[in-house]
Symmetry: C2
Subunit: 331 residues, 2 copies
DNA sequence: CTGTTAGCGCTTTCAA
DNA sequence: TTGAAAGCGCTAACAG
């Protein structure tokens, strides 16, 4: 069942059949109708690989994400999927589990799969072999959540967001504010947020930063508890992401501290689930789906005009602050 | 940069270059080495669309899921992604948002994209136009979470799971057990779970089922609260999924009921996040990643042997019960 | 508006 | 073991 069969049955050339599907306006209403009818009768579906081979456009986008087990990324992917569908692109996601080597492999696979462009969340754009490959091949790509002047990034201003949060906490009397983070070296996001934390403290002349770094998520709660049981424990926890914040609340519970009375907890990401938690998670909300969506729009636009994206195509979307119940941060 | 360039530079025929990449054992160690070296130098990557066109195998799997905003499905997709990578398949996910029409469109797109097979979570396999199309085209597919004798399904025995939970609750003194569900008609899973609930009640001679159906997630908490404020409110909530359970706990909080002292809440799905909640979610744990993984293995095996899957290829994986803190269900 | 035709890059007989 | 050559199904000049 190919274009020839349809052409034969419709009494037209293959070119005409091709046109009815690829550029219908170049065909008479009448013939188009007939061809479409015949095609439908025969259950004909254009063979995409032949088309791709010929046009050198796969209408497929590669997506590289750390993991889908963190709702930030699955929400983002949901936005990506939606936008891609709108623009008539298929997506091919690969997860890297924060492993640099996997980022490279993912990009390799996607290049081999002939994608027209990529959207990715990498560990650190400053020094990424994966991105080098893309640059070398002149494949359009866009980063999400990452932040770097040399690359096209769709993200929010994490640093300012954390500064703002710290300020609000200070305003509410907190002087002992800890930052709870995963392995800082694992991602530029964590680093940005930490920088925001430091700046925030500085701004209010609090000189001693208190960093709780939990490299392994599974041991997080225990490790956090260790800190919460100390005599000079922090009165507020600024967390590098919502998953950590949830664990922070859990740790507080296990230490018999009540949130927010004894301990304020602020998250970062704005995962939807945080809305339904008790106490509702106070957090910095990134527009996760929108970030994904905009990344795809940007990418699709670049592909359409045969361009490649650069740092100057970056876009900073607005974050917002959700005043939940896990910390009082009224402005 | 194509196979010809490499062939020329290596002083061999295109056939030999092709062989070094597709069936290396059919080429002398020596020539293979040379070809590989040249290819690497030139940065040659085989053009996948040409290969697909020729071999009629895309090594791509279509994935159809309701949404990625529910962690059950993103965890499952994570498993799918991992397994696909292992088996050297790419995946193309599409979300349907529980809309039947979208399921059909998704399948259409994926067929057009030339996938070798599909893994899907549909609303209801009993009467699914999407599945009919797959059968008609003899494309291998497998369902995940769905349950139906006429289709290959990878799932758990939800019904029994809920029966077990109800029994345990009864054993702990509950007589007024409500089921909290989304729109029952929206998915066969919800129906299976409801059936399990009814069977459970029957088994213990509790004659009045109490169904709280919340079609729209956003209005869920309010609606649940309405029921919790009634005089003859249930003492336990068996929820059709974890997201609902979390909202159930929220509603309890807003109604000043403490969980589990005043209200027991049991979820279904076993999303990872439930582990860190306070109170930790008592729930029926489905091996979400494993379900995805097995689906891919099954699918890949079928594709490899050019077979199509049927109801007799179904596999029921084991669920487990997480005795969290939101309900006491010690056996 | 429609048809003819070359060729996208690869795999795979078949023959050497 | 290697090469020559046909052809997968489609699109896009180009000609009519």
């Amino acid at each position: 069942m190919n274009i020839q069969d349809v052409a034969l049955r419709a009494g037209v050339s293959t070119a005409t059949v091709s046109r009815t599907f690829s550029s219908p306006d170049k065909v008479t209403e009448e013939t188009r109708q007939r061809v479409q009818r015949i095609a439908a009768e025969l259950g004909y579906i254009p063979n995409s690989s032949a088309r791709v081979l010929r046009t050198r456009r796969s209408r497929t986008l590669g997506i590289v994400l750390p993991t889908l087990l963190n709702p930030v990324f699955s929400e983002c992917l949901d936005g990506i999927a939606l936008a891609a569908q709108e623009r008539d692109y298929a997506i091919m996601p690969i997860t890297t589990d924060y492993v640099l080597e996997n980022e490279k492999m993912a990009v390799n696979r996607l290049i081999a799969a002939n994608v027209d462009g990529l959207a990715l969340v990498v560990s650190n754009p400053a020094d990424s072999p994966a991105l080098d490959m893309l640059q070398a091949r002149k494949l359009p790509y866009v980063l999400i959540y990452n932040h770097h002047p040399g690359h096209p990034c769709i993200t929010v201003d994490s640093e300012s967001a954390v500064v703002e949060i710290v300020s609000r906490l200070v305003k509410h009397g907190h002087r002992s504010i800890a930052m709870l983070a995963g392995q800082l070296s694992a991602s530029d996001r964590a680093q940005q947020r930490y920088r925001g934390y430091l700046l925030g403290l500085e701004k209010h002349d609090i000189s001693v930063p208190y960093l709780i770094e939990v490299p392994f998520m599974d041991a997080a709660i225990e490790k956090i508890s260790d800190h919460l049981l100390k005599k000079n424990r922090p009165s507020a926890l600024v967390c590098s992401n919502d998953l950590l914040a949830i664990r922070g609340m859990r740790a507080a519970y296990e230490c018999r501290l009540s949130v927010p009375a004894d301990l304020s907890v602020v998250g970062f990401d704005g995962i939807t689930l945080g809305l339904d938690l008790t106490p509702q998670l106070t957090t910095i909300v990134q527009p996760n789906m929108e970030l994904g969506r905009q990344a795809i729009y940007t990418l699709a636009a670049a592909i359409d005009e045969n361009a490649t994206l650069t740092g100057s195509d970056s876009r900073i979307l607005k974050y917002s602050v959700r005043r939940g119940e896990s910390a009082d941060i009224a402005p």
